[in-house]
């Protein structure tokens, strides 16, 4: 934080030289504090307005890129999501909002509605945009939890229609705690895991109560 750069002149005036007596230090501090307070209020409002507009712009960018990607063949889009990005079929299905069975049919050139075609393209576009942030392995990043001990993964934000929170996280514009609070004010209770996974020593993972 930048320190306040001002000095208080405590030299008393003579009264005969016409030199103005210094202002009261108390008044000076109060006016500076008020000015900072007003400035802070203005920047806060500005931050909120610009933040909302920025998020809307990011979502519009995602939509435009999705419409561009939607011109590609759906089976090629799906192959790209799996082979090039490394998303699992279950995750692709979940994030697109259909079954793995439907995804499998589309991979084999089965008919796809326009809405579903756009949903696949939107997921491809999301990974493209995250890579530009840059998030070096967007599919890997989507799989990890926002906060250890809580059940929400980055992918869950997208599934819940909050790509805007995902972009803010990727750009480090908000913290994981802020993102979860914005998604659900009671996130600490709602998403907290009472149990944890540990290596059981036999090559498998096991579960125990979190201490």
């Amino acid at each position: 934080m930048t320190s306040l750069n001002f000095e208080l002149d405590m030299t008393p005036g003579t009264g005969s030289t016409g030199v103005e007596a210094p202002r009261s230090p108390t008044v000076t501090m109060a006016s500076i504090t008020n000015r900072y307070g007003a400035l802070r209020d203005r920047t806060s409002i500005l931050d909120s307005d610009v933040g909302d507009d920025h998020r809307a712009a990011q979502l519009q960018t995602l939509e435009l890129l999705a419409r561009d990607r939607a011109r590609e063949d759906v089976s090629a889009l799906l192959h790209g999501l799996s082979a090039r990005r490394g998303l699992g079929w279950s995750d692709i299905a979940r994030l697109v909002g259909v079954s793995v069975q439907a995804i499998r049919k589309w991979r084999q050139s089965g008919p796809v509605t326009g809405e579903n075609r756009l949903a696949v393209a939107r997921l491809a576009a999301l990974l493209d945009l995250l890579e530009q942030v840059p998030v070096s392995d967007p599919a890997g990043w989507l799989e990890i939890p926002l906060i250890p001990g809580y059940s929400l993964r980055h992918a869950d934000l997208y599934q819940q229609g909050r790509a805007d929170l995902l972009f803010d996280l990727a750009h480090l514009r908000n913290s994981a705690e802020e993102a979860m609070a914005e998604l659900s004010p009671d996130w600490r209770e709602r998403f907290r895991n009472e149990h944890e996974v540990f290596d059981a020593g036999d090559g498998q993972l096991s579960i125990r109560r979190r201490v």
Binding site: G86, Q101, R104, G140, E143, E196
Partner: protein
């Protein structure tokens, strides 16, 4: 979270249903087969669901010789969403989608071990998706312990095995065409080849942040081997 969870819709439970279940899908916890006799139940042949835990049903590329299965039966009354009570069963709404309307349940009290070699992939009528598998685990664990573990933790515990099953499915899919007359022999050999190749990646799958890179590596390997 201290309550048994519920899907938001029946579709959330299933990965595949009906006639077009790929044979390449490895036999997995939650699979439902027709025409299964469960020793000890003395109720003849019928529908049955695998309840053996996903992590313990294989030894390398092979299924263990015996799997725990629960009888699946029709139920006259629908268990509405969200599920409440009915702790002794795993509800299977719309199990036979497009074939017969109605509701089925797998009953945790009607269990027995079945020889895995007797299971015929042509008799498989449903496979649960990841969400369905962890809901089954949660209900089954609650049935035997009266203790609830939240499904995201159950998923975290077995997500590496779920991911590996998906990769094996991709491998078999690419290497063994469905119309191959020797599909079963071919798929057994390819499962062993997958096991040889995949061994070094298995530990890495436990780390969610590494899963995408492992999937990419397996995809490259599949492309190199099978075009």
């Amino acid at each position: 979270m201290s309550h048994l969870e519920s899907p938001s819709s029946p579709d959330e439970l299933y990965r595949y249903r009906g006639a077009d279940i790929p044979r390449a899908r490895p036999v997995f916890q939650g699979d439902v087969f027709r025409n299964v006799e469960i020793p000890g139940l003395n109720d003849g042949r019928g529908l049955a669901m695998i309840t053996t835990h996903a992590c313990t049903m294989r030894n390398g590329a092979s299924l263990r010789p015996r799997l725990l299965m629960a009888r699946v039966t029709p139920r006259s009354t629908r268990i509405g969403l969200p599920w409440t009570g009915n702790f002794r069963v795993m509800p299977l709404p719309d199990l036979l989608l497009g074939e017969a309307p109605g509701n089925w349940v797998a009953t945790f009290e009607d269990l027995g071990t079945v020889g895995s070699a007797t299971l015929d992939l042509r008799e498989r009528i449903a496979c649960l998706d990841d969400r369905g598998v962890v809901l089954l685990q949660q209900r089954h664990a609650h049935h035997v312990t009266r203790y609830v573990v939240e499904t995201p933790v159950l998923y975290e515990q077995c997500s590496n095995v779920l991911a590996e099953a998906e990769l094996l499915e991709d491998w078999i899919d690419a290497s063994c065409p469905e119309d191959d007359p020797h599909w079963e022999d071919s798929s057994t050999k390819e499962a062993e080849r997958f096991e040889e190749y995949f061994g070094s990646h298995r530990e890495g799958l436990k780390d969610p942040s590494l899963r995408a890179s492992i999937r990419r590596a397996v995809s490259r390997e599949i492309a190199q081997r099978f075009g």
